[in-house]
Amino acid sequence: MINTTWNYPAISVIAVPLLLMIGCAASSPYKHLEFTQDNVSAVHSGMTISEVEVLFGVPDTTYNMKFGKNSGAEWEGLVYKYYGPRDTLYVFAKRRLANTFVFYTAIKPPTLNNWDIEFTSQRSRK
């Protein structure tokens, strides 16, 4: 005998996570909504790590790097990187825009030395 009954529980197992994923994607195009014009213009050299984190949240990646090799005085820095939406300049290759903050770590607490803003967000969580 052939079983022609619809298997409702199986459909819901597939459909519910799918709907959730679509819903999440629609509500959050990218993670960092804190990069508003106001927040970005508040950035200044000498800020501490915690002050930057208050403005923009926890970064996506951090790493140490040496700076100033060609400027005469080499110094050690901590790089904070926040990734944003895809770079629309690239159609085939995948690149995401990134906002970068570099802290001078030889002093305590480390202070912001330079930064590079590639994207700003339209909305704020505030």
């Binding site: 060609n70 005085a73 202070t111 330079n114």
Partner: protein, 475 residues
């Protein structure tokens, strides 16, 4: 009082030892000559490799070996780290292996002209101290020294360390005179080998002729050509690129863009090249990794295919932040062989066992890369003869090839792929095979390739930005 005496004794001892060390580190006679003359020694780029050469006349005449500039329609001279210009061949003697090339006189203004020894009877003696200046391997303008081992009729044998790239450089005596041109070496491993330099007196007539020719010759334009960047691609980025499990290689291979093209065309970047070089080791180590996992082998005992990335790698050439375009001729069955075998198969069916003859389908005669319609000068170009020589057999027949053709490797600055004002550059490659000089093949580099190549240099750009970033945020 006793304490003061001890202190004074210690102070005196310190100064005496310090003075002795300083005296031991005095500058040698060789170093003084090297410092005086090195700016007059250049790196010469022919189409089959690079060698050395030196300034013999303030009008821009440079003496080198003929084999350095042989078969080269384009010759470039690297005067120092940042000045590279085109040169013109004035006079050459293939058998003697000597050539004189000409660069624009404005480029050599203020540089030392090397004095040639004209003493034919006693130009050198065995045991005499000599130095060589040249650009061997991946080095530029380096000093090696030794003594003359033997003076022959037309050459000098010495124990001076000469390597590929030294060819065409000067062998100089302690009077600061050039006595010979470093040309050949003989080495049997193990052993340091001996070096051969042809006597400069051999070339005096040729030099006189070249000087006469230079009076009427138009020197090439002193336009500065791109030079190899002094910086290197960051090792950490190479390691990351190599660790990516699957890398899309399609954007780098442009061969399929030309239907029935004569050449295979590849564009490569440092991360692509390093990953490609490591592919073989990665394939080999698959089973080993499985055994390591099974046996819970610690990190120290694990096979690491990426353990060659050392900081000193840059001194051996390293991975320059450049884009390399490699053109190799395609290999295929000759039309006569293909027709004969087709006929044989039709007549005799599957019992036919033919003889298949293969050849190169192209032979590189010209290559250029254009950016937005303008030909872009390359940093380095090499057009090398590649032999094709194999003989094999299987159930279907015998396979044979005997041919030789030119391949090309061209190095460009990565900046030619840079987007300007939000739009990507139009890049096209032009190739010509010597058998059909009027048949130019143009390949338009796809945007996918341009994007990928530029993206490959992002870690390098980040490193460059970091290197030039000053410290401003002091508390």
């Amino acid at each position: 009082m006793r304490v003061v005496s001890i202190f004074l004794f210690c102070l005196l001892t310190f100064f005496l030892v310090h003075a002795a060390v300083k005296a031991d580190r005095k500058i040698s006679e060789e170093a003084v000559i090297f410092k005086q003359l090195r700016d007059g020694v250049f790196t010469i780029f022919g189409e089959e490799g690079h060698g050395s050469g030196f300034l013999i006349d303030s009008k821009g005449l440079v003496l080198t070996n003929q084999h350095v500039v042989a078969n080269s329609s384009r010759i470039n001279v690297l005067v120092n780290d940042s000045i590279k210009v085109a040169a013109k061949l004035l006079k050459a003697d293939e058998k003697m292996d000597v050539a004189v090339i000409l660069i624009h006189p404005s480029i050599v203004r203020g540089l030392p002209v090397l004095k040639l020894s004209r003493n034919k009877d006693s130009i050198a003696f065995e045991g005499e101290k000599v130095i060589a200046i040249g650009s061997p391997l991946h080095q530029e303008k380096i000093l090696t020294s030794g003594i003359i081992s033997k003076v022959l009729e037309t050459a000098i044998i010495s124990d001076v360390n000469i390597n590929p790239g030294n060819s065409g450089g000067p062998l100089i005596n302690m009077d600061g005179e050039v006595i010979a041109i470093n040309t050949f070496g003989e080495q049997v491993r193990p052993g340091p080998g001996v070096s051969g330099s042809i006597l400069v007196t051999q070339a005096l007539n040729l030099i006189e002729d070249a000087i006469k020719l230079s009076n009427s010759a138009q020197p090439p334009e002193p336009r500065l050509l791109p030079v190899m960047p002094k910086t290197h691609y960051p090792l950490s980025a190479l390691e990351y690129a190599a660790s990516i499990k699957k890398r899309d290689t399609k954007p780098y291979n442009l061969t399929k863009l030309v239907e029935r093209g004569k050449f295979n065309i590849f564009i490569s970047t440092p991360p692509y090249l390093y990953r490609a070089e490591k592919q073989y080791e990665l394939d080999l180590s698959k089973r080993r990794r499985a055994r390591e996992e099974k046996g819970n082998v610690g990190k120290e005992g694990q096979y690491n295919p990426f353990d060659d990335l050392k900081n000193w790698y840059q001194y051996l050439g390293g991975y320059s932040p450049t884009v390399v375009v490699a053109i190799t001729p395609k290999i295929g069955e000759t039309s006569g062989s293909a027709f004969g075998n087709l006929l044989g198969a039709v007549v005799l069916g599957t019992s036919y066992h033919g003889s298949h003859e293969y050849e190169y389908k192209g032979d590189l005669g010209y290559f250029s890369l254009s950016v937005n319609g303008l030909v872009s000068p390359e940093i380095e170009h090499a057009m090398i003869f590649e032999p094709l020589d194999f003989l094999g057999a299987d159930y279907y027949g015998v396979y044979e090839a005997k041919d030789i053709a030119r391949s090309g490797v061209f190095t460009f600055p990565c900046e030619i792929f840079k987007p300007i004002n939000g739009s990507w550059p139009d890049i096209s490659l032009k190739t010509v095979s010597i058998d059909k000089p009027n048949d130019t093949t143009v390949v338009v580099v796809p945007r996918q390739t341009i994007e990928q190549v530029w993206l490959d240099f992002e870690p390098y750009r980040e490193q460059m930005r970091a290197d030039s970033t000053r410290l401003v945020a002091k508390p």
